[in-house]
Amino acid sequence: MSTVTLRNIHKQYTDVEIIKGIDLDINDREFVVFVGPSGCGKSTLLRMIAGLEDISSGDLLIDGERVNDVPPDKRGLAMVFQTYALYPHMTVAENMAFSLRLAGVPKQQRLERARDVARILQLEPLLNRKPKELSGGQRQRVAIGRALVRNPKVFLFDEPLSNLDAALRVQMRLELASLHDSLQTTMIYVTHDQVEAMTLADKIVVLQGGVVEQVGSPLELYHQPRNLFVAGFIGSPKMNFLTVTVSAVNDSGTTVQLPGDASVTIPVKPSSLSVGDRATLGIRPEHLRLDPNQPTLTGEVLVVERLGGETFLYVRIAGGDTLIVQTDGDNPSRTHDRAFVHINGDFCHLFDQNGESIAKTRRHHLMNETHEQPYQNRVSYQAE
């Protein structure tokens, strides 16, 4: 019931343009994540949707109605801030019921509403505490509760987990996912953490320099990045990029010459690339294999990062490029060893000189399904 539509949205400060024309459709009940490097405009965009920043030009529609000039509290949105922004002199209950108090709801009623929400978020024992007596995770939950009380059409989250420690972040991520599952409202979430983006989102919007680089489901972004930026931004560690020369173009694939004479055939459709052109080959660390029997490239191991379950090798190959190779935790490689890296063309991405991706001949088999949340612990959020 709650859609958000952006039509050619611009944000201009006196002499800099932060947002350079964004079109976006956010469907009902969708969990949309804005992701991008610092300064890409993702927070500004969220604050423009919230009404905290003016929109320089373009239209913002909520449920089909233009709301550019509607004040923040009348847009039917609620926002959770990075620093939680709880009112320090009010108790948890007062914090959550503050919007109702401003709306003139009688005390009894608003405290009841706060209690209902507290039950959903398991905050009941804390209702009479002040924010400074709470832990980071509890404060975060109160901030979510304060948003929940208003029964918003759309939830906005501005990097809500970045002030939490790593363990708590994972836990709150799960809780947010099941909250979305049980509330079934539209949520817009800003983060720079791609793990949050990948795990939470139905739809990821990758922003850079005030423009949308790509919109798609997490797996779409992972398997079919539209350009070099998205390819490098999604995935950790970063995708490896090699400069290559096109040596043959067929209907079934394009063959490229790697540094050091080896060649790889990548199953992409014929495109603007022709034989002799320079192009960029991209392959993720997890798709590279060490294989002494069929080496595509050889190089020297510079650094070995052992995470226990997996090991990252930084391999310098002929021509001076460094490849990151993900292997299992039992890999015996050591620094200064020779590494034999096998590249499977099926996993490679090819980008033309403009950094645009060249379409593959077939889609990834998971790509036609919708992205399902893997969590099923919705019990805790159901009202008794």
Binding site: R47, K74, Y87, P88, L102, R146
Partner: protein, 306 residues
């Protein structure tokens, strides 16, 4: 007044053994300043206490004798003393209300972005740097003078006639002068306090539907309460001893209309040459100031806790 600062709000919590060792090592270093301060404070206080029990008039210094509580009973039964206490309270409370009320509003205004902000802030704070005597003279001769004063000229230009401030509204005139001097102080402290308010809190309140007045009432004012308490405490301590402004402008008059406690003691000591009576009045003032200070410290301390 200084004795109020001796209220111990931080009792030692370290084990005794450690505490003594620490004291031994630092005592020689702090001793000189402690001794100097003690002499500075104790000697005048002791002399004042001594004088307050004596009949001691400078017009007749040979007739000095011990009279017990005579000076105190005389002072406490003097209607002028009670009038001066009333004047002191009116003066302190009204200047506090004006400086904190206007100071809060101005702090919010000066927190906004506007061209010439830096210069405006310096100008707004500058009255604090003018010494009381000078500012009282400026107000007396250039602003509030019934013939030459700027205010009189303006009101006369509007056909409203002129007010002789120091004859007809003497206490109000003093209150205006002192408020003008101390408004910058309140503004300065409250402005820094407002600037420390988390911007996201204001945005959260806006999302919750707070209009400017609700924003001020529910978010800004609670945030400022601590700074307001500090301003009130510091200002009270200074306002209890206002003297120069009164001395320069009204001289405590007409009658006793602007005689506060400090000025009352001055009248006793230096116009009636009654050292004994002035000392007794001074002691009563010290006791009263300490009572006020203790209450203020308590409320501020409670404020700092929450």
């Amino acid at each position: 007044m200084s004795s109020s600062l001796a209220v111990d709000r931080h009792p030692e919590t370290r084990p005794p053994e450690q505490r003594t060792r620490r004291q031994v090592s630092t005592l020689p270093l702090v001793a000189p300043s402690v001794i100097a301060l003690l002499l500075w404070m104790i000697v005048p206080l002791a002399m004042t206490i001594g004088f307050s029990f004596q009949r001691y008039n400078l017009l007749n210094p040979d007739a000095r004798e011990f009279i017990g509580l005579g000076n105190f009973t005389f002072i406490l039964s003097d209607p002028g003393f009670w009038i001066s206490i009333g004047i002191t309270i009116i003066l302190v409370v009204s200047v506090l209300v004006i400086t904190i009320g206007l100071g809060t509003l101005l702090a919010i205004l000066f927190d906004q972005e506007f061209p010439g902000q830096g210069i405006a802030r310096v100008l707004a704070i500058s009255p604090f740097f003018v010494m009381p005597t000078v500012s009282a003279l400026i107000w007396k001769n250039m602003l509030m003078h019934p013939v030459n004063g700027l205010i009189a000229q303006i009101t006369r230009g509007l056909g409203l006639g002129a007010i002789d401030w120091f004859a007809n509204l003497p206490l109000l005139a003093i209150i205006i002068i002192v408020s003008w001097e101390w408004l910058p102080f309140a503004l300065l402290i409250l402005l820094t306090a407002i600037q420390s308010l988390d911007h996201e809190q204001i945005e959260a309140a806006r999302m919750d539907g707070a209009k400017p007045i609700a924003l001020f009432r529910f978010v800004m004012l609670p945030h400022l309460s601590r700074a307001i308490a500090v301003v009130a405490m510091i200002e009270t301590i200074f306002f209890l001893t206002i003297f120069a402004e009164i001395f320069v402008t009204t001289g405590g008059g007409p009658g006793l209309a602007t005689t506060n406690l400090a000025y009352y003691i001055f009248l006793k000591a230096l116009l009636e040459f009654d050292v004994g009576g002035a000392s007794a009045g001074g002691l009563i003032a010290v006791i009263l100031a300490n009572i006020v200070a203790i209450f203020l410290m308590r409320s501020v301390a409670r404020n700092l806790d929450t």
